[in-house]
Symmetry: C2
Subunit: 331 residues, 2 copies
Amino acid sequence: MEIGRARQLLTADQIFDLVREDLHGVEEAIGVESAASFEPATPISKCLEQNGGERLRAALLLLCARFAGGGSSRMAIQMGVVVEMLYAAALVHDDVIDVENARSGWPSASVQWANGNCVLRGDWLYLRAFRVALQESVLDRVIGVAQMMVMGELIQLNRIGLIGITEADCMQLADHKTACLFAACGKLGAMTAGADAQEGERLGEFAWNLGMAFQLIDDMLDFVSCESTPDKPAGGDLKEGRVTLPIVYALEQASVSERDLVASVLRDRSYDAVPLANVLALVDGYGGMQRTRVRARQFTDRARQIVAEFPDRLCRRALFTLTDLVTERDC
Amino acid sequence: MEIGRARQLLTADQIFDLVREDLHGVEEAIGVESAASFEPATPISKCLEQNGGERLRAALLLLCARFAGGGSSRMAIQMGVVVEMLYAAALVHDDVIDVENARSGWPSASVQWANGNCVLRGDWLYLRAFRVALQESVLDRVIGVAQMMVMGELIQLNRIGLIGITEADCMQLADHKTACLFAACGKLGAMTAGADAQEGERLGEFAWNLGMAFQLIDDMLDFVSCESTPDKPAGGDLKEGRVTLPIVYALEQASVSERDLVASVLRDRSYDAVPLANVLALVDGYGGMQRTRVRARQFTDRARQIVAEFPDRLCRRALFTLTDLVTERDC
């Protein structure tokens, strides 16, 4: 009942309002980091700023800090900077890996220059994040998370084009790529509030489940066109050679000839021979989308359950609502 | 006189023999790091092993440790692992930046895969290096060095194709790309031996000067074909758009039309219109190679001077000889 009531009480804006001031602190600290950089590094700050609209990970960390009884603290803000920089570094390096431009006829020198910049700017962001984390004595944990994220990307890269992916494979990737950073947000947030180890673990587990759901919904939404991101066409994952959970579920039921359709897209890296609409019909027909959403909701159910075990306090409703926002978003 | 005598006494093999046992320790520790890695990361260890023939930075660190009075220590070996991993990480990321294969007609998916692997394997090596450095409580310094190295690569990348490079620009790059890691080897080596701060600074300065010379000689040797590296054709730097010190010196004397020849190679990124032999004649004719070697020797003279200020002790001759090996090598 509690959970149901909480659902109706807050909007995304209201949640962000709870930590708006601290998020400004995070933006300011990121700005200071940028201003202090050398000339050629200046566009690095752009990577961070462009991403300013979201700051989901910092917000999660700050909400967990509030929930664990912490006020607005310099340390929580610094931790927010660390997780956002880590996320930005991984994104920037991902731009090299997914380099679409190399295919669309750029001059090779430009591709090389662009790739080189991606690599080095990502490195720079990692190093900044580590330096801040070192000052706050949490670097051991942060390096551990970064290692998981890099390992996730490596696993993903080395599965490109493979059709024999399992549900367990997808879960491993969701954990490495996304949930482990979410978990760190929960734990670090609790830590900045001076919470005990057990409470930190619980908030970490809450955030981990939220992160798993977030990634699964991401995989699902990849098949959906979205008005707010017209430059990101639907079906990109499969076209890039990545078999995600909705496909895995569909293939469990598919006939040999239907499986061949998917294999053809993976092989050609295009929807020329097999249109996206046919793949979507297949995935939807075998409940791939629906099952993925159900699986994501199992994770958010678990996340809500963990929060419900805590006594009612500041931000508890916000944490409940956050889980809904993750699974029910359509973009 | 002391310096002259030392020159004749040791060979490269004899120098390495002084720290051979500890270098084996470094290899073993790197092996342990590799064995502990997950499956997709296994080829990462290959990056480290392939580079096994050299280990110049670890050897420098171990020699400085001996010179500063330290024996064979676990900490010195761990530091050797850190500097070699840092160097390997930078090299691996450099492979993305200089990606030649992208031009020679690989299928784009393979280039993408290869680049992605380079990025992530480099990330992984950095993270390993940082983790070991953290255990040894030297991470602050190591992150500082990594930042300098990344900044050097960024500066270099953003100067690609520019002809208006100065001697000071080249010195800045040599410092960032190479000498600052050499300096760290000197300081860390001294530290593992329990040397005081002043001695650490002096050994750092020695190693920094050695590193500057090493990079300048590298820039010079780039114009020379070398039998032991037939896959690295002469004149690669200029062809890749990098104006290095021998060119800078030559352009200071060159006529407008001669300058245009260099500009043409930079613009075309090839020696089709202006053969390498013509560029070499220009660089040699205006003493570009000779002046670069003289400049490198100024750095090694300074390095030798610093060592000469220390009382004669174990490894002093080795440090002297090391400076000669750097400036007098021809490959």
